[in-house]
Symmetry: C2
Subunit: 215 residues, 2 copies
């Protein structure tokens, strides 16, 4: 009994009686998904990892879907930022278009948990990719740079929308295969390898977009 009342020997559970529990919950969610896969994500396990009781998250998110929505929104914001970051360095329309696509794939490789939440089939309604022009409007960046490339004569004329869907499909497919580990047996495991493949792949697509297929 002599030791009763002294500091507990295990103070290993950080507590969040301050303002950053929300952040801690988001981080815990991402770590959990990365380590155990999406199926392992539960509000209770997230709370556990964040060092709080399983009732605490409800102070910040009304339910599980709200937590995921917050993760997804953060992901779209980060992805859009990543795309802009690489695009502004470029000086040509097709350079920007290429950068746009490569950044999409890089984001997925660097933030697989975010990517899974953003595009996984977890929501009742598929996510809206952000208001036009907003800082989550990654699709808008693609459409914009594609239209610019059209005006510059580097991409065939015609309705921009279906062409944008082709571009999106290309990078989304590559990103998905990478995140799900399906290209590992083809030897693509590092970010550098993924970037090289993305560049090559998007270049092929841009080349295909340059002129009408009936040429």
């Amino acid at each position: 009994m002599a030791t009763r009342g002294t500091r507990k020997k295990t103070a290993d559970k950080p507590r969040y009686h301050h303002g950053d529990l929300r952040r801690a919950l988001l981080d815990a969610s991402l770590a959990l998904i990365s380590e155990e896969g999406f199926g392992a994500l539960s509000l209770r396990e997230v709370a556990r990892r964040a060092g709080v009781t399983h009732a605490a998250p409800y102070r910040h998110f009304p339910d599980k879907e709200a937590l995921l929505a917050a993760v997804a929104e953060e992901g779209f914001r980060a992805m859009t930022a990543r795309m802009k970051e690489r695009m502004v360095r470029e000086t040509t329309p097709d350079g920007r278009l290429l950068a746009c696509g490569v950044a999409y794939v890089l984001f997925a490789m660097e933030h697989p948990a975010h990517f899974r939440v953003m595009f996984g089939p977890h929501f009742s309604h598929p996510p809206d990719l952000g208001e036009a022009g907003g800082d989550t409007d990654s699709f808008g960046l693609l459409v914009g740079s594609l239209a610019e490339a059209q005006r510059a004569g580097m991409v065939r004329e015609g309705d921009t929308q279906p062409l944008a869907l082709s571009c999106w499909s290309m990078v989304h497919g590559l990103a998905s295969l990478l995140v799900d580990g399906l290209l590992a047996r083809s030897g693509i495991t590092t970010v550098a390898q993924a970037e090289a493949l993305a560049e090559q792949t998007v270049r092929v697509l841009l080349h295909g977009l340059a002129r009408s297929t009936s040429d």
Copy 2:
């Protein structure tokens, strides 16, 4: 009490005391995923839908992952068959390559639950896409027709493998976006629309593959 002992008024639960429970379990899994999403899939609910006790499935599958593996394998077999079916109608190398890609997308649209299980992040190990030349080797079909197109001079020379990854990414991305409903707001909802988009998209890619980007 007069009615006691007579036929129960609800005989609505079909029983599988014959040989087709395995098939029924696979079908129930697919229906469940289609209707409620992948997250709703549990062995117990599958058993319920198949009209058996939750212990019955263990007679056919050692665990949940084994059930999913069976669904996935069936999916790869069906997808490969779908691709072959469309490819044999074609008389040119690039026709076969196009058919190969379009069939991939069509399969996903027609069998979204299969597609989700095949490529969803549900397995400890990502699925092997089948032994080379086997009836689940869809990737082999792609590589084969791509190599054929190269020999015919319709696709640039060089290592076939990375080019095949570009093709796979393209159709896999389109299929994924379609299955997850992300192209619905772009107005692509029917199989016919998806097929048209897939054709256009793969044509763009083939055009890009025709010659070196440095031409």
